[in-house]
Amino acid sequence: MNKVFLIGAAGTAYGKSNLTARDLSMLASKHAIENAGIKPQDIQASFVANAFGMAEKQGHLGPLLMSSLGIPHAPSSTIEAACCSGGSAFREAYVNVASGFYDVMLITGTEKVSHLDTLTATTYFAYGGDYLFEGCSGASFPGLYAAMARAHMHEYGTTEEELAAVAVKNHNNGMFNEKAHLQKKITVDDVLKSPVVADPLKLFDACPFSDGAAAAIIASEEFMNRNGLEKKISIKGSGRSGGSGSLHTREDMSSLESTIRASREALGQAGISVKDLDFAEVHDCFTIAEIIAMEDLGIFEKGQASKAVVEGRTAINGEIPINPSGGLKSKGHPVGATGVGQIVEVFDQLTGNSGKRQVNDARIGLTHNVGATGGSCAVHIFERE
């Protein structure tokens, strides 16, 4: 496989937007093209990550986006893997460039959900799981993670206070991210007293429904050399795994097998261990998800991650900063954009452009993106050149 570089990445603010998913995707892509320092005509093909396009009565977004960027001839398809759409689209683009088929690809994730009422949005999110069996037996999307949380608490003695510490930490980080959806400092008590959504998860254990878009551009070494472009960040590993799309059929309810497989694949390609990471952006759709992610990635032993959060070991100035962007919890979760947005954070961190949330001397960063309850997982590792 050929060496592939991350040459540009940019995102819109996450939150409630008056723009359409189409507008948002255009804006993020424009900014990514600008900071990559290439011409739009250099882009040979694109993947769009979008989960709920039909909620805006718009499928087939790719060609519309390409036209808006002035490159209607460039082929573009939508990749949908629920909340892992962004990471999956990035992976597929990586495969295309690493194999030598294309030199330059654009990956754009976008989502617009704020025009939906809470019930409709809740129902759409439930569609990402095994809806006919789990959703139709009454599980909301938070309900699925609540069931995992209860299993984790039962198995390892994890407490609701420890889960709350994840939310507090991510909100602290999000305070330094001007593009974050929820820029608000919260306390453990705020989390514990927020309304219960699906016991033991409360409103403040959950990420918000956000609008937003994020875009990334990757290129081959040959293209970089031919155009005399500075190589800033290389992609060291790309891991992707499926897992049972039905939570209820799994042996272990407190672990995502797809995270374990995807991360081992990516780490293996990079030839590093998790100890070499300077920070990670992990998929914290709920507080319990960040705990499970850190354990499945191998950053902490099973049952130990929540203690590490409470001890501050995952804060921006801790031994392994987790979600310096604020994560899905504070930065927001525009479903299709999320996985690409994690890569935008890595781009900013590795180019030293993260302002007050800058991780000191960040050299290697990892992104971890999950679809639904782990039916899909994508893990990528990036290194500053």
Partner: protein, 126 residues
């Protein structure tokens, strides 16, 4: 159809009468209650469809206080994952459970019917 695959409606329609249909591999005897065409264990393409016990134990659960579309008027209730006596895991719900204290991991339950169109379990005494 019985040796072809286990389809969504085969499973859901049987649960209306409290019956659970499973597939069983004709080669390795692997069983499961899931939409299935090929055996998960050995890849065999011949599956028998059979009725299995509708009694099991709660593996994990949540109390839903905010629900998706068909369940809005049912809250609060428990959504459960159940391990049946044949060690197969399925999902369902238990109406009128409003607090976590009313249920526990390991609680014995039985499938009684389906409704809207989820699988309804009830608590059994040990």
């Amino acid at each position: 159809m019985s040796d072809e695959a286990l389809f969504v409606n085969d499973i859901i329609e049987a649960t209306r009468d409290g019956i659970i249909k499973a597939y069983q591999c004709t080669e390795c005897n692997e069983m499961g209650v899931s939409v299935q065409a090929l055996c998960k264990q050995c890849g065999n393409n011949k599956l028998n469809i059979k009725e299995i016990s509708n009694v099991g134990k709660v593996v994990t659960y949540t109390i839903q206080t905010v629900a998706p579309d068909p369940f809005v008027n049912e809250v609060p209730y428990a959504w459960v994952i159940v391990e049946l006596e044949d060690k197969i895991r399925i999902t369902g719900w238990i109406p009128f459970i409003s607090s976590k204290e009313q249920l526990s991991i390991g609680q014995k339950v039985k499938l009684v019917k389906s409704y809207k169109p989820g699988m309804v379990f009830e608590k059994l005494s040990e």
